[in-house]
Symmetry: C2
Subunit: 334 residues, 2 copies
């Protein structure tokens, strides 16, 4: 019989329906994504003039801005979802509310090497990506118009990536996004009730239960989610309670790079380079959620297609038990 | 500059970002969906033995159950997301909550004619579909385990339809889905504040504003949504305040068939038979939301691909202003 499971933070119910008997290999894509036929990649070294001027960069000493010699580079999105200039201009239109699309939309070029997808990237390079994420937080949080900074990655066309060159994105918003509000509210209520962080409790239970854990080191744990919306939905949490990614330290960055790399590499082999999204969930700016919120990463391989039921209910049907997904990720040879 | 708009019911912010200058025709799919090469369609007349026994049916007098002679037919889903037998078995697993996947999952075969997609269906046939929806509500609401009945349609492979033959689905759940709770809560708060139904107010404002309206008749109005998540997201609302679809009457069914048909036909021509989902949003069972909730249909053509940003924030980036979408739907020749 299918099973209904509830996400303890957001109270979202998920249907784990394994009746069709799908096995991990059923989620492997049948066809390779066709390689993009782009004559010139605008994110590759040598083509720096094709992007807007760099906002942040790690580059060799003595090299000039917007030229070669970089190993991580951040530029504004050419077609930003939110612009950086102007005021909020909050207004009502009858019963509706609107404001100007003020914020930031940046592209984080993770490597000069076009073919070096994140799963295959060296840990050292991944650490650099994690550091430049943090730099962007530190810089943008000084803008009083911004309430939330979201860093995410779309890998593969089916996951929404329009460019093949490895990159992440940053969107800074002048409003608190709905999903973030739900996590804050859920964890705040739990804290009020238990005087403990709900995510810390989840870590304790997952470590004791073991069956959903994929990999763990000193500072981080990666596991399949109990009430997972999607096959192979994976969360990575810092074991030390911290609400904001921007407080990450050197040994944490090293450990996060190791765990993230291993998770992506295991997915790469188990699911044949699947399209995926990951999202960094962290505390909003100017919001005291120190005690009850716990930053983390959510990784979602795009293997199923949410349809009418999901849009209509906010519930999800997941054809793969997270326990089986964890086992297959642990067992795959890397 | 992009614009942020807030959905008044759920408080979800949406970014309307038209900077890339996309026009309605940019959302037309480049390739036709390949016709499925299925030797035998299990939903076609003559193949009734390939489905589980029918639960409800409109068929010619004198014909036998599970044989030809029907024009609308409801059967259990062969691979149900929720099963109909058993009790809820609510249980805790440490800090997590689960229950048995009890409910119903049905397939509503809308027509015997395999090639008669809903946009091209006769209004009379569409009325029959709407009536059989209502019959299923009336039947299932007697089951005390069920809290919510969701009727939805996935059209086209990209919208999650695994069978080509025109059909809708019904899923009855033993829990209140998250999205439904949000709508109930948002409309309840508004009613507490204003003593008016928020959806009735939306109808009044859309009728006065005119620019987002697609089509209207005596009992129904269809418009593009002010804070639409997706290009061409369309809502159809009954003008008379009613919380539950199951109270629909004959003249309403006739008018709904007309409006739904016209919306789908306009999309069919403007967007070349787009994949789409629609979802019937109606009151939960045993929940007194008579005054503040207002049933409606939400139609979402699947033209864009929600990615990391959407999963991470619950916000949406919509590259098409609903005002422009409404205009192009109004102007298309049908």
């Amino acid at each position: 019989m299918p099973e209904l499971r509830k996400d303890p933070v957001t109270n979202r119910w998920v249907i784990i329906a394994t009746e069709r008997g799908q096995r991990p290999h059923d989620f492997i894509r049948k066809e390779e994504e066709p390689k993009q036929k782009v004559p010139i990649c605008q994110l590759c070294p040598g083509n720096e003039a094709m992007t807007p001027d760099e906002i942040a960069v790690y580059r060799e000493a003595g090299t000039s801005p917007n030229s070669t010699g970089w190993w991580c580079r951040v530029v504004p999105n050419k077609f930003p979802a939110l612009g950086s200039v102007g005021d909020l201009g909050r207004a009502g239109i009858g019963m509706y509310d609107m404001m100007n699309g003020v914020g930031a939309h940046e592209v984080i070029i993770e490597t000069p090497n076009h073919g070096e997808g994140m799963a295959l990237m060296k840990e050292k390079q991944l650490e650099e990506v994690l550091w430049i994420y943090r730099d962007r937080f530190q810089d943008l949080k000084r803008d009083p118009r911004i309430r939330y900074i979201l860093i995410f990655k779309n890998h593969g066309r089916a996951a929404g990536a329009s460019l093949e060159h490895p990159h992440s994105q940053l969107i800074a918003t002048p409003v608190l996004p709905k999903r973030v509000m739900e996590e804050l509210e859920g964890s705040r209520q739990y804290y009020g009730f238990k005087e403990r962080c709900i995510y810390c409790d989840i870590i304790r239970q997952e470590r004791a239960d073991v069956q959903r854990v994929v990999v763990e080191n000193t500072h981080f744990i990666a596991f399949q989610v109990y009430a997972s919306r999607f096959p192979f939905e994976t969360w990575i949490l810092p074991k030390r309670h911290d609400s904001s990614y921007s407080d990450v330290n050197k040994s944490q960055v090293m450990d996060l790079a190791q765990v993230l790399k291993e998770v992506l590499l295991r997915m790469h082999h188990a699911l044949k380079d699947p399209p995926f999204n990951y999202v960094l969930h962290t505390a909003p700016l100017n919001n005291d959620c120190r005690n009850h919120y716990h930053w983390h990463m959510e990784i979602i391989p795009r293997l199923t297609n949410p349809a009418g039921f999901e849009w209509g209910t906010g519930m999800y049907i997941n054809p793969m038990a997270p326990e089986a997904a964890a086992q297959s990720l642990r067992e795959i040879e890397i």
